[in-house]
Symmetry: C2
Subunit: 214 residues, 2 copies
């Protein structure tokens, strides 16, 4: 499948590399074509890897991953262009973490709204699925046995397609938990402050949560 | 031990009943002495159970539980009186859930502050430990094998005392995870929107999360 990955950071690189390994044709998008990190990634990724602007990546992909920094995601998606997003599944991996006031970060959108909802509202033609934002980049593409990966979105067929792809990433279908509509992105994003403290207490970002019934 | 439980709702009743079962002398506090729910609880609890005002419960307890609604907790603690809180361990179980705009609730304090921090700031003489707010009332007093119960607070000795008491509740010491200072209450409270969606997806509030390393 042709996939566009928006974002050149750790998350974008990890997901794009995994997609190439799985045999997909991947274009990594940055603010402008020819960005150092995207060029380096595309030249080293092996397989079918290209780079370009956000618009290039969005135009290329039948399915898109938003791996930009959450505070820059709307701007990146505007640069990609609403027309290029229309009808496509857009996996929103971003967290709206604001580090401008130092550590710990706050969320730039929170409580009665979320980044996932903002994206779906501004790009109603996109089929937004929030997923993978609750784990570290390394965990995203391996899964952890027995744990849970929440997803949400308003489009059931889009969620099914993403669930299938997550299976290839290392998340068997029974580990993917559908939390409902895109408004569940509030909870998935507001989990980040707890995740950061769990990381601190555990001494590693390589973990995930399981759900255990009483 | 003499324990004061502030709050007469499901959480207060569940915790107060468990404390009585464990042999503690418990006074349940309400806005005013003689509240219907507190009187009913005290008369039915068996063991050493009494009721009174918030101030009565605080004066009685060597250790206190804040089980009031989060949006009313500061007011309840003011009614209890700063002098009655001084030097005492105060287990803050409350979540600042605001249902005034309907479902889903929002948090009345969030992101760069938390109820736990507000309480510690306003009552610096209290030794605030945030605990148990991440699970349903029934789960609070039984524990769930293999899961994790985060706690936080600025006073290490207070956290040790609470950890010991939690062991009696059903949370072995290795299930209690110290997330650090009281500012970790942000993450513990901001987990609630995810908890609510997990409850919806699972169809039960009787669950908890485990942490699994990758």
């Amino acid at each position: 499948m042709k996939v566009g990955v928006l974002g050149t950071g750790m998350v974008g690189q990890t997901i794009a590399t995994k997609l190439v390994e799985l045999g997909h044709e991947v274009t990594m998008g940055a603010r402008s074509a020819g960005s150092e990190k995207a060029v380096e990634w595309a030249s080293g990724a092996g397989g079918d890897a290209a780079e370009g602007s956000f618009a290039d990546a969005a135009a290329h992909g039948e399915l898109l991953f938003n791996c930009t920094a959450g505070t820059a995601s709307l701007e990146a998606l505007r640069a990609a262009g609403a027309e290029e997003l229309r009808g496509k599944v857009l996996v929103d991996v971003a967290n709206p973490l604001d580090f401008s006031q130092g550590m710990p970060p706050t969320l730039s959108v929170v409580n009665d709204d979320s980044l996932g909802e903002q994206i779906q509202r501004e790009f109603p033609g996109a089929r937004v699925v929030k997923a993978l934002n609750t784990v570290n980049a390394g965990v995203m593409v391996t899964g952890i046995d027995g744990t849970v990966l929440p997803i949400c979105g308003d489009d059931d067929a889009a969620k099914q397609q993403v669930t299938s792809l997550l299976g290839d990433f290392g998340w068997p279908t029974d580990t993917v938990l559908d939390l409902g509509g895109i408004d569940a992105a509030r909870g998935m994003e507001m989990y980040l402050p707890l995740w950061l403290r769990l990381m601190g207490a555990l001494g590693t970002p390589q973990f995930n949560i399981a759900v255990v019934r009483g």
